[in-house]
């Protein structure tokens, strides 16, 4: 019952002399089978790859100006965490989110920092005792003007673009990091 590696038993294998054409036919069919399967797989793989790579192809960055309030109340020499509401378009949902910024006055300049450590994104906090920002994760430390004092962070704190209009502090909230 086993046929195994028999060579040539196509429907027209009766002619014994046709050993070579039969072998060709066998080889051709083998290539055809593989090619068909490969083509079908490629047909599926192409759009599937595009589908998977969508996050690379889509620009989902947002930027929105938010009014934080009177700059006089917000910005002092000691950094304050300021919470604000922002409407976020999150893929197919739109919703209100509460976010936060560290606001401080350094000399004449008002600064608003993103509340994520520039090392790996942990939340950091102002230490009144040590007068510096401290990140609990890996010991990153920053001065009030955002400069790195110690730890693994390689760049100063990220700042929100900001403007003072009519005495009120506006910051640009977006997914893009701007320093």
């Amino acid at each position: 019952m086993t046929v195994g590696e028999t060579r040539a038993e196509g429907p027209d294998a009766g002619s014994a002399a046709a050993a070579d054409p039969a072998l060709d036919r066998r080889r051709f069919l083998g290539v055809a089978a593989t090619a068909c399967a490969g083509a079908a797989a490629a047909l599926v793989a192409a759009p599937a790859t595009g589908f998977l790579l969508t996050p690379l192809l889509r620009d989902d960055e947002t930027a929105e100006w938010v009014d934080l309030g009177p700059v006089r109340d917000l910005a002092g020499p000691v950094p304050r965490s300021v919470r604000f509401q922002v409407t976020v378009r999150d893929a197919y949902r739109v919703r209100q989110q509460t976010r936060m910024a560290w606001v401080v006055r350094v000399g004449d300049e008002v600064q608003a920092y993103r509340p994520e450590c520039t090392h790996l994104g942990c939340a950091y906090a102002w230490s009144d005792a040590a007068s510096r920002f401290e990140c609990p994760c890996h010991g990153g430390m920053f001065t009030a003007d955002g400069t790195v004092i110690a730890g693994p962070p390689r760049r100063p704190l990220d700042r929100f673009p900001h403007e003072v209009r009519d005495g009120r502090l506006h910051i640009q909230v977006g997914s893009r990091r701007t320093t």
Binding site: M1, T2, A33, F51
Partner: protein
């Protein structure tokens, strides 16, 4: 042979040796592939036998597109529809992938059906492949379950209403039906839990079941081999060639064609209707095409036997399907030698085909009718009520006769004896003009619904026969209303409601009286009240206040069959109490 040759000695580098070692290690795992490649196949195997491989490939395609969709889909009633729209509009190739999943589902069912027909015609379900037939039937059920659960996931109108009907049908089954319905839906109605359950079934449970069944099916096939066409049970046929490359090439071509067609049709995307809205009264649910025949069959049985049919028809059909190898026990496989079985099978197939076409046609006709009614409804709101001139009256009378309204609504006078026995609880139309308001009747005639909403109320207290929908147009409904509105009975329903005396205080007194005199025991107003009598939540829109007062005065005089009793005591205050209650009820305009 592939495994060992790869690492052969020609390239003696470290990598070569390493790969060779790995190839040797995994060599045994490739045994099934080698077995399949070298599988001997008998004569007569050809194009009809590509269906199994094609089915496997299409199922693989469904798995790929399904997993991809799962990257973005959200199974929440709040977000599901939005996430599907997001896939269609914002994800690269999202439209194509969803379209391919949709078309692929149809492709799987179609190819599976052809595969089953081929198996049937060739008699391939006979010994020793009866297990193969059983796993195949189980695969069929699994695929249908995929369709049934996947249908709900987009959470659009089609999905929502389709599933509402699809889960109500098994719920009709006597005794166990309600429990089945609750289990399917995960509660009392199609809701978030339903969506979660259907989603879990569709992406986690069913794929596992399918994989296990497919493995069993293919493993058995590999062990037993393909049925030699035309052979008798017990006969062996000489193998004429190997699976690879002869049948493999045909399989490959079929797969390429099948996948290509699915992707090409998928370019058009898949339908996505408006988000599920349970309040739309004009939506006609339509199941997926491969369930249409079953729905149409249940429909042909008629409403009275439907519960029984829902309980009996599917199990009987399944029993016949699964039991086929036991029913057809002759050793012959060739269709010409199994004429009775083949003819019966063909007849069943033709019946399913006819039911599908018929179901498709009636669903389309209903959709068209509903669309007309939807348009009429949107026009109705802006149109002033028609003047009952003579021509309209004549038209209304003609409709009344033509539609044979009097067949069900008793016309004869009770005192004189009746020539037409009233069906249980169907109201008389003799005083319809005194009873109901025109504005309501025009609506009702175009979209008849039960006045007694509560299905759990005591039987016999409401019409067991629902008024048929005569599919009236707006002008027709207005003409019939104009005619019915002339049927008044001033002696029995005298004008006495004092509309000018209506004040918020009187309505307030009316609400208190409605409780005090126990009206609320039987009549519902919004969320409160009994369900013996008709719902009064929309009494102001539906009923003439004069009629309500006449019923309060003497129910027997209006309708001797009514179970209503006078509860307001005779006396000097009676008139004021009834005026107040009528005033209260006349202010009830919801929920319709």
């Amino acid at each position: 042979m592939t495994a060992t040759s790869a690492g052969g000695g020609s390239r003696a580098g470290l990598i070569g040796r390493l790969l060779g070692g790995i190839a040797e290690d995994i060599g045994p795992l490739a045994a099934p592939v080698r077995l399949l490649r070298a599988k001997p196949i008998p004569a007569g195997i050809g194009w009809p036998h590509v269906l199994g491989s094609l089915l496997l490939a299409l199922l693989g395609l469904q798995a790929v597109t399904g997993v991809l969709l799962e990257l973005y889909y959200c199974p929440s009633t709040d977000a599901a529809h939005d996430s599907v729209r997001y896939i269609e509009s914002s994800v690269t190739f999202g439209r194509l992938i969803r379209g391919a999943h949709h078309v692929g589902a149809t492709g799987v069912v179609a190819v599976l059906a052809l595969h089953l027909v081929r198996t049937f015609v060739w008699g391939a379900y006979k010994k020793p492949r009866r297990v193969l037939w059983i796993t195949g039937c189980l695969l069929l059920l699994t695929v249908l379950a995929f369709g049934y659960t996947g249908y709900l996931l987009p959470w659009d109108m089609r999905a929502y209403f389709g599933t509402r009907v699809g889960t109500s049908i098994p719920a009709q089954i006597p005794l166990v039906g309600p429990a089945i319905g609750r289990l399917l839906v995960g509660g009392s109605e199609v809701s978030q839990i339903t969506l979660s359950r259907f989603h879990a079934a569709h992406v986690a449970i069913l794929p596992l079941v399918l994989a296990a069944l497919a493995a069993a099916h293919l493993g058995t096939l590999l062990a037993l081999g393909i049925t030699p066409p035309g052979s008798r049970v017990g006969e062996t046929a000489p193998a004429v060639r190997t699976f690879y490359p002869f049948q493999a090439a045909k399989d490959g071509a079929a797969i390429l064609l099948g996948v290509g067609v699915v992707l090409a049709l998928g370019l058009r995307g898949a339908p996505l209707g408006p988000p599920a809205d349970p309040t739309d009264p004009f939506y006609v649910p339509r199941p997926e095409w491969y369930f249409l025949w079953l729905q149409q069959l249940l429909r042909l049985v008629g409403p009275d036997q439907q519960a029984l049919a829902a309980a009996l028809v599917p199990p009987v059909l399944l029993a016949i399907l699964f039991g086929l190898p036991l029913l057809d026990r002759s050793p012959e496989r060739h269709p010409a030698k199994r004429r009775v079985v083949v003819v019966l099978g063909g007849a069943a197939l033709a019946a399913i085909g006819w039911l599908t076409v018929d179901g498709w046609r009636s669903a389309s006709a209903e959709e068209a009718a509903m669309e007309r009614r939807r348009e009429a409804a949107s026009r109705r709101a802006s149109e002033p009520p028609a003047e009952p001139d003579a021509a309209i009256m004549e038209r209304g009378r003609a409709l009344f006769d033509g539609l044979r309204c009097a067949r069900c609504h008793p016309e004869g006078d009770r005192e004189e004896g009746e020539d037409l026995a009233p069906l249980d609880g169907v109201p008389s139309l003799r005083a319809e003009g005194s009873k109901v308001r025109q504005v309501w009747l025009v609506d009702f005639l175009q979209d008849p619904h039960r006045i007694y909403y509560a299905p759990e109320a005591e039987p016999g207290t409401w019409p067991t026969v629902r008024m048929p929908d005569f599919d009236l147009s707006g002008p027709e409904a207005r003409a019939l209303t104009a005619f019915l509105d002339t049927r008044v009975e001033p002696p029995r329903v005298p004008p006495r409601y004092d509309a000018a005396g209506s004040t918020p205080e009187r309505r307030q007194r009316g609400e208190e009286a409605f409780r005090q005199y126990l009206c609320i025991q039987c009549h519902r107003v919004r969320d409160e009240g009994g369900q013996v009598g008709p719902d009064m939540s929309d009494a102001g829109r539906r009923l003439e206040p004069d009629f309500m007062m006449a019923m309060m005065e003497n129910p027997y005089r209006i309708n001797p069959m009514s179970r209503m009793r006078r509860t307001i005591p005779q006396g000097p205050d009676a008139e004021a109490i009834m005026q107040a209650i009528a005033d209260y009820l006349a202010a009830q305009a919801g929920p319709r």
